[in-house]
Structures are given as C-alpha cells and as structure tokens.
Amino acid sequence: MPELEVKALTINFGGIKALNGVSFSIEHRQLLGLIGPNGAGKTTILNIINGVYRPSSGNVFLDGQDMIGLKPHQIAEMGLARTFQNIELFKNMTVIDNLMLGRHRFIQSGILSGSFFLGKCLKEEMGNRDRVEEIVEFLEIEAYRKKIVRMLPFGIQKRVELGRALSMDPKILLLDEPCSGMNTEETEDMARFILDIKEERGVSIMMIEHNMEVVMDIADRICVVNFGIKIAEGNPKEIQGDPKVIKAYLGED
C-alpha cells in the first residue's frame, strides 16, 4: 500500500479550475519530485495534502486513511510535515526554540507542571532537546544554535526550516522549493541533506523544485503538472525524454 495516495484532486478558485483530477502516490521511502511551470498548481497540491485547502472533489489517503476535512494540525499529528516556499519560521526566536516548537506534538505535560518545570515536564523537555540536538548535528547547524533566525543567512534559514519539519519525526515530508534562492554550494548541501533524510531516517518525501538538475539527480519518481493537469509521471530518465514535458517547458515550435 502506498504511504500517501492522492486521487483525482480537483479544486476551483472562483471560476478557475486550479487542479483537475490530479492523482499520484508515494511509496514508503520514496522521493517524488513534483515539477511544472509557474502557476501549474504545485503548491496548491501541497496545500490540499496539508489541509490548508479543501478540494472540490478527490481524496488524499495517508496510510489508507482519508484526510480530507481534517485540520492542518490534525494532519501534522499523523506524521506529515512540510516546509514553505517563503520561509515561515518564527523570525525573532532562536534556532533551537524554532526546532523545539516542532516537537510540540510530543509534549504531554500540562500547564501546571510546565510552569514549574518539574518532574515529567523536565524529563520531557530533555528528551525533546536531545532529539533536536540530533537534528542540529544532522543538518550541521551547530554554530547557529542560539542565534536569532532573522539574523541568519537565507541558506541557513532554509536549513532551519527543514530542521523544524524534521523535529516532528514525520513519516512524510513535503518540501516546497527547498533549493530556491541558493547558490551552488548551498544547493548541493541541501540535496545531500534531503537524500540523507530519505536514506537515514526512512522518511518519504514529496518535493517541489525548479532546479531541474537537483530533481533529476535525487528524485526516484517525478510527476509533472501543467495548468492543473498531470501530464506525465515516471522516473527521471522517462521524464527527460517525454515530449509532453518538453512542450510544457519550452512551448511549441
């Protein structure tokens, strides 16, 4: 059974049909690249899976359970984490605090023990910090731990956002343009982190990315959308040779 299954998604914004019957699925430990020209509806798909939009019709299944109608926080509880195209971190908080926030779904102690920082709460906090430190090490952001996010370079902020998503211990990770605005070196680092997340942590990933080199290099499968319709799906080689994809990107002659 696929880990995440998207079936015949359709959504209308006013009179515009932003998505029209898009279906695809992600197997366990698979990296699916979602590509397409600007305005093709890629981020909309992410927003539906994540519970921000409710589709006009269609279904999203996580481990066989239908998620349509659930709120984003409920979906997050089920083990689905995401990052955003424009970084959505708490800019005036430190890196560690941002990552600790990602652990929210694991916190069980109440207000009372929390305000005195006693017993169970302290133990929980230490356990969560331990996990967060593991991620700090994994993403090599040791030097920024106590820094305020606003002051950090863009590439590092992107890494911190990925870290926050990871600290939720997700089963599935949705990445919206993880490499946008990065230089070559930062892009290479990011690609390596994404691969390691898949390999080391066994997380399935769906990634929207415009940097074709990265997508072709690391994705297991690629799904191409254009004007709200899926026009192709396959492994990177197949996609590169697909006439419909070439047409969508380069136009007709």
Partner: protein, 599 residues
C-alpha cells in the same frame, strides 16, 4: 620489563588516572567527558578488532579525517598492535590521498565520514594493498554495500568479544612493542615535489618528549584544544604524545564554525598555533575594532601601545614600574582581559607558534595584549621540535635555544645541522632521499640560520628559497612576505627577485577585509576578481606596500607588485596541505604576469 614506547606510556597513564578525564568532546551542544578508562576501552577494542581483521606488525594504517577522539583511538590502537599510523590531510583531493595510500602501501584506511569515504571509493581499485576502509561516522553510507566498508563501532564490537575471551592479549601486545619500531609515518607537505614519508620511531617520540618537558613542563592540570590537523607532527605531539607523559586534557570542538565559541568555553592553558591563525586573529581584531563603539575603540587605541611597552620591558627583564604598571592594570581589565576572553585565550599560559615563520609585528601585537607567543622551530624529520624559548626568555625574531639533548652545528653555507635521538629513522621507501637528509650522522635541515650572542637561534629562510638578486645580494623572502602579510588587507604575498634586478611581489588580497573596506568606501564589486581589479584597491595595497618598504632596506624594497585575480588554492597545487605557498609552482604558473613586472 617492557621497552619505553607510546603504548606503554598510554598504559601507565590509564593506570595512574583511571576515571579522571582524558578527552572532552562537544556533542549535542554539551561537553562530554571521556575518562582514561574509557579511552583505554576504545583503544583496546579497536586494536583487537584491527588485529582480527588481519593487522600484522609493521603494517601501515592510514587515518583520514578531521580531528576527533576516534582519530586518537585509531592511532593508538594501531600502534599498540605494532602497526604504523599514517595521517592524511582531510583537505587532500583524491589524487593526493591516492598518492599517500599507495606509497605507504596501507592495508587499512580509517576515514571520518562520507566526504572522505567517497574519495577512497573513487581510488580503491587502484590500491591493491588496501583491504578495508573503516568509517567513523556512517551517516549517509549505510546504503553503500561495498564490502570494503566497515563501521568503526563494528570493529570495536569485534574487539570487545575478543577481549572477553582473551583478556590478557591486549596487554601482551603493548608489552611487545619495541622502542626502535616505527610508530608513525608523517608525510611532509612538500613545497617541492611529491610528499615524502618520514618514519618516526617510538624512541624518537619518547626522546623528544623528554627534552620538550625540560623546557615546557606540561601537567595534568593543563588543557588543550585540538585544532590543527593531527597528521601534522606538531599537532600529534601536542594532542597525542604530550598527554601520554603528562595526563593533560585534550578537547575537540564541535565543528570548525563553532571553534571560536568552543575555545571560549574551554579556555585552554596551552595553545599550539600557526602564523596563519595568528595573522587571521590579528586582522579580525583590527577590522572588528573599526566597528566597535567609539569608547571601546578609543580604549583599544590607547592601551595597545601601552601593552606593547610593558611586554618589551618584560622581555628585556626590566621592571615594569608603577608609572606603566598602574595604567597597564587598568588596561588589563578594560581591554586585554575581555579581548583575550573573547578569543578563548584568557587562560593560555603557553602559546607556541610553529610550522612557518611568524612576523615580528604579529608577535608584538600578541605580546601587547598579554599573550606571550613564542616561536618554536623544528622539522618533521626531527620529530617536531628542535628549539623553543624557555619560560619568559623570549627574543622576538628568534626561535630560542635548542632543546637539551640535541647536538647542532651551522654548516659553512649557513645550513642548520642537528644530531640526536629524535632524528627520524628515514624516509619510507626512499633510500635516496634518506641519504640526502642524513649524512655522517647529521640531519641536514635545509634551513639557513645563525645563533646570536646569547645562543638564540635565528632562522633566515629555507635554503632553497633564498633569492640572489642580479646584483648578487642574498635575500630571505619569507621575512619580507611576513612584513606584507601583517597588513590586514594582504592574505598572501610571494616575493619574486631571483636573478632579477629588483624585487617584486604577487599579492593576494584578504577578501573578507578588503570587501569590508570597499563597502565602507562604497566601491562596487561582485567577486574576488572584480575586487582585485579595482584601481582603488590597488591604491590601498600600494599604501600597505609603501608602509612595509619604509621598514625594509632599500635593496629589500618592493618596486612593483600585482594583485592575483584568484585566491591561491590547494586544489590548484598552489598551496601545500599546511597552506604553505608552493613558490616554484606559482612562479611557473604566473610566469608571464611576472615578466610584465620587469618590463
């Protein structure tokens, strides 16, 4: 009675200190202590693990990666089993790694992480002697199914099981190590030609320790941060050999980016450094001070000359006096103490700079802030250190007196010759080079030097690098280069002038500092290249060169110079692994440019 070797010293320290801290490593944001007993367990298990993988006495084992406790475990474990450790610079490119693994005929290679493992995987088919690659951090490698790969922990597990079956085996191996056995091979960085592997025996190591401790005693209470590459003999001496005699603590920073903060947290008492790092600290402080609050800047400008005056008095053994002492006391609390604390150098009682000549101005700067930097001199071939100032008997511009236990002589042409138990055993698989270096019992250092009336050694330059101008004047380029590099805007300078009518220089600007300067002056630039080409930048450097020229004799003055449009790089063979300039290579590469300076 076992012979005196490094493993025997290690065993003795473990017995002596047991549960006390031997190493500290920052992990997950916390400093974690590793006791001597834990140190011993790791070394023992890894040693037995290596043995079961087929390590024989005399086999070479290479270690490739940044400094970490496992580096030391692997090195010691291998030596305990009678193997020979070979350190490889983690910055080496894969052809350079291949050269060393191939030349040393390594049976095993221990690598830190995926980055290093990937280099070895590219070349492993060309290395018939290589049997296993042992990886310390398996992150990103678990999906590789190459049979050559083994995890560090896996090897330790094997060793642990062997130890449970035969508990005395490890002790027996340690007792079997012989003092004349080769312990490590250190590949010299080689400013000319390919690197050569200097073989150092246990006896070399123990004898250098003996003489070192007479000049600079290290105790259990001392602590060091291991920063420089462990494959270099000086860092090996400080991070591995010295603790085996003194029991001092070695600390490993979390990463290179956190080094400054980690230094401040540990505040080491002994600091081994190289001129490049001191130059960097000096230029960072100089530049940062421009951004500091005006009051801070004022205090810094006022007290720094005062600090230098006090340092001069101390060096010349004069009393400081109340007139200087009182304001200095104020300056200490206002400027020097906070500055040194920020740099993580507050507790440093001994600061030793080596590996390359240090500029006098840099030295004076550090003495001014109360850090009595001393310059040591040595070669890989003499197990690291030959001479070093003792206590506060520091004479700026010299490397102090030779350590006890050395015989020495200055040859007719000025070359320094030395003789003693710490002279290396020879170059591995290079009899010709060995005979070249060791003649009639003397080690020919290739360095030109002289003793002053008080017996302090002054190093002029490498013999090969001495320039002879067209008018027949001998000139030591490194001194002039260092004078130029004192400028925060100049990162690298190469003096040209052999068989030429006058001296010229190729200069590489310090990108960070010049970029900072350009931003203040609103000079637009995009890359290193465009910055180097800017006429305003040329003017800036011209001023810096003029300043240096004022302090040099007329014949040593730099008539013309040009700015390099790219940064010198190890990967382009322009720098050695220790970041020394490969003069020949550069003169060849930039030959045409150089000619334009003589038209």
């Amino acid at each position: 009675m076992p012979e005196l070797t490094l493993p025997v010293l290690f065993r003795d320290r473990v017995k002596e200190f047991g549960e006390e801290v031997a190493l500290r490593e920052k992990k997950k944001g916390l400093w974690r202590r590793i006791s001597w007993n834990e140190y011993d367990t790791h070394v023992r298990n890894f040693c037995l693990g290596l043995k079961s993988l087929g390590l024989q006495k005399g086999d070479r084992v290479s270690i490739l990666g940044e400094n970490c406790p496992e580096w030391l475990y692997a090195d010691l474990a291998n030596q305990c089993a009678g193997g020979i450790s070979v350190g490889v610079y983690p910055t080496n490119s894969y052809p350079q790694v291949k050269y060393i693994l191939d030349h040393s005929q390594s049976k095993f290679v221990i690598v830190k992480d995926q980055e290093q493992a990937d280099k070895v995987l590219v070349i492993k088919d060309q290395l018939p002697m290589l049997e296993k690659m042992i990886v310390i951090d398996m992150k990103g490698l678990r999906k590789y199914d190459d049979p050559i790969i083994k995890g560090f922990q896996e090897v330790e597990e094997i060793g642990k099981r062997i130890h449970e079956k035969t508990p005395s085996f490890f002790q027996k191996m340690i007792e079997d190590t012989k003092s004349e056995d080769v312990a490590i091979i250190v590949y010299t960085s080689g400013t000319t030609g390919p690197p050569k592997g200097a073989m150092l025996s246990h006896q070399n190591i123990t004898s250098v320790l003996d003489s070192f401790f007479q000049v600079l005693p290290v105790s259990r209470a001392d602590s060091l941060v291991s920063v420089l590459p462990l494959c270099h003999v000086a860092e090996r001496l400080f991070s591995l050999f010295i603790p085996m005699k003194s029991g001092c603590t070695i600390n490993f920073a979390e990463s290179i980016d956190t080094l400054q903060a980690d230094m401040t947290e540990i505040s080491p008492t002994i600091f081994l450094t190289v001129p490049r790092i001191l130059e960097k600290i000096h230029s960072t402080v100089t530049i940062k001070m421009q951004d500091a609050h005006p009051i801070k800047r004022w205090a810094y400008d006022q007290f720094l000359p005062l600090g230098q005056k006090v340092a001069e008095r101390k060096l010349s053994k004069q009393g400081v006096g109340l007139l200087l002492g009182l304001p200095y006391f104020v300056g200490y609390f206002l400027v020097f103490r906070p500055l040194r604390n920020r740099l993580g150098l507050l507790q440093v009682r001994e600061c030793v700079s080596g590996a390359a000549p240090l500029s006098k101005d840099i030295m004076k700067f550090f003495h001014g802030i109360g850090l009595m930097v001393k310059e040591a001199y040595g070669l890989t071939e003499c197990t690291g250190v030959f001479s070093m100032p003792s206590g506060n008997d520091i004479e700026i511009g010299t490397v102090g007196k030779p350590l006890p236990g050395w015989e020495y002589e200055i040859a007719e042409d000025g070359e320094i010759l030395m003789k003693g138990p710490a002279v290396f055993a020879g170059y591995f698989r290079d009899e010709g080079a060995t005979q070249q270096a060791k003649r009639g019992g003397w080690l020919y250092t290739g360095d030109i030097g002289e003793f002053d009336e008080r017996g302090h050694l002054k190093i002029t330059d490498r013999k090969k690098e001495i320039l002879i101008t067209a008018s027949g004047k001998n000139i030591a380029p490194s001194e002039i280069e260092n004078r130029l590099k004192f400028s925060p805007f100049i990162k690298e300078a190469i003096i040209i002038g052999d068989r030429r009518p006058y001296l010229t220089a190729l200069i590489q600007i310090d990108f960070d500092n010049v970029a900072d300067w350009a931003q203040r002056k609103s000079i637009p630039f995009t890359t290193f290249k465009s910055l180097s080409r800017d006429p305003e930048v040329y003017k800036l450097i011209q001023e810096e060169v003029d300043k240096a020229n004022k302090e040099l004799s007329r014949i040593e003055g730099i008539k013309k110079f040009l700015l390099l449009e790219k940064e010198l790089d190890r990967d382009d063979d322009e720098l050695t692994a220790t970041m020394k300039v490969r003069r020949e290579m550069i003169e060849k590469k930039y030959g045409e440019l150089i000619e334009t300076l003589y038209r």
